[in-house]
């Protein structure tokens, strides 16, 4: 029973660590987005009360996210498939560079389409916010980053 409990505790720690690692990985992307002066919808929605997001704004943001979802719906399947092929191509040795680079180009093209759709979403969301809301977001972010001793760029 003691062995079982110890294993259970170890498993819990492991799962918690993995979850935190995955979460930290997501924050890298968010920081880059925020430094560019764009605001992901999950951050806006999480603090919609403080920002005073109206019902109309929420509706428009929801519509923008759904439009993004439909833009990339078909792209997701192709992207995952092509990424998998690219990984398999690059794992081998020696690599046939002509074929590999063609595959990389296919993946880059699909990823570019994905990023373009993502930018379209973030721009649409920012355009829905008022100047006061953006100012509040920027000032708060700047304060937080200065508190952490990080450089403030593009905010």
């Amino acid at each position: 029973m003691n062995t079982f409990k110890a294993l259970l505790i170890a498993l819990s720690f492991y799962l918690a660590t993995m979850a935190q690692a995955a979460d930290l990985e997501g924050w890298q992307g968010k920081r880059d987005i925020l430094k560019m002066g764009l605001y992901p919808p999950d951050i806006i929605m999480r603090h919609q009360q403080k920002l005073g997001v109206s019902v109309a704004q929420r509706k428009k943001i929801t519509g923008a996210v759904k439009a993004f979802q439909s833009d990339i719906a078909e792209l997701q399947w192709s992207l995952e498939n092509e990424q998998q092929i690219m990984r398999q191509t690059l794992i081998g040795h020696p690599i046939a560079s002509g074929d590999a680079l063609q595959q990389v180009e296919r993946v880059l093209s699909l990823e570019s389409q994905f990023k373009l759709a993502h930018f379209k979403l973030l721009i649409a969301i920012k355009n829905e916010l008022s100047d006061e809301q953006i100012d509040l977001l920027q000032r708060t972010l700047k304060r937080r980053m200065e508190a952490k001793g990080l450089s403030v760029e593009g905010s």
């Binding site: 403080k50 996210v65 992207l79 990424q83 993946v107 979403l121």
Partner: protein, 132 residues
């Protein structure tokens, strides 16, 4: 039924006699075995009943399917939080080439993450209210 006279034990003899008497009493009260004619009538009645039920099962199934389809179609859809929807979409997609080309923490320490950086808390500047 006769008592088996080979049973020597008097207790067993007594028990055997009692069981015999009990069977005779029960036989008097038991219903008569049905005749062949009665069995035929009963079987045809059961067939008629089961046939009717069997014919009705597909109709019930069809009706249940139609009701379920109507219910699912007319069910009011709960609008998903756009933040959660966005998180689901981004969580399901990875840009493989970005991760391939990213620098490791040893080469670029400033790229290391700061947990909780984007958690807005009550340390807002309360002198400003975006809702004004």
């Amino acid at each position: 039924m006769k008592i088996n006279n080979d049973i020597i034990d008097p207790v067993e003899k007594t028990l055997a006699r009692r069981f015999r008497e009990q069977r005779e009493v029960e036989a008097l009260h038991a219903p008569a075995f049905p005749t062949g004619q009665e069995l035929l009538i009963r079987a045809s009645a059961d067939a008629a009943i089961s046939g009717a039920w069997l014919n009705a099962v597909p109709k019930f199934a069809l009706a249940a399917s139609v009701l379920l389809a109507v219910f699912l179609y007319l069910k009011p859809t709960v609008s998903q939080d756009p933040g959660e929807l966005y998180a689901d979409i981004m969580g399901a997609n990875t840009v493989a080439t970005d991760s391939l080309l990213s620098l490791s923490g040893t080469l670029a320490p400033q790229s290391l993450e700061v947990p909780g950086l984007f958690d807005f808390d009550s340390s807002f500047d309360d002198t400003f209210d975006a809702r004004q």
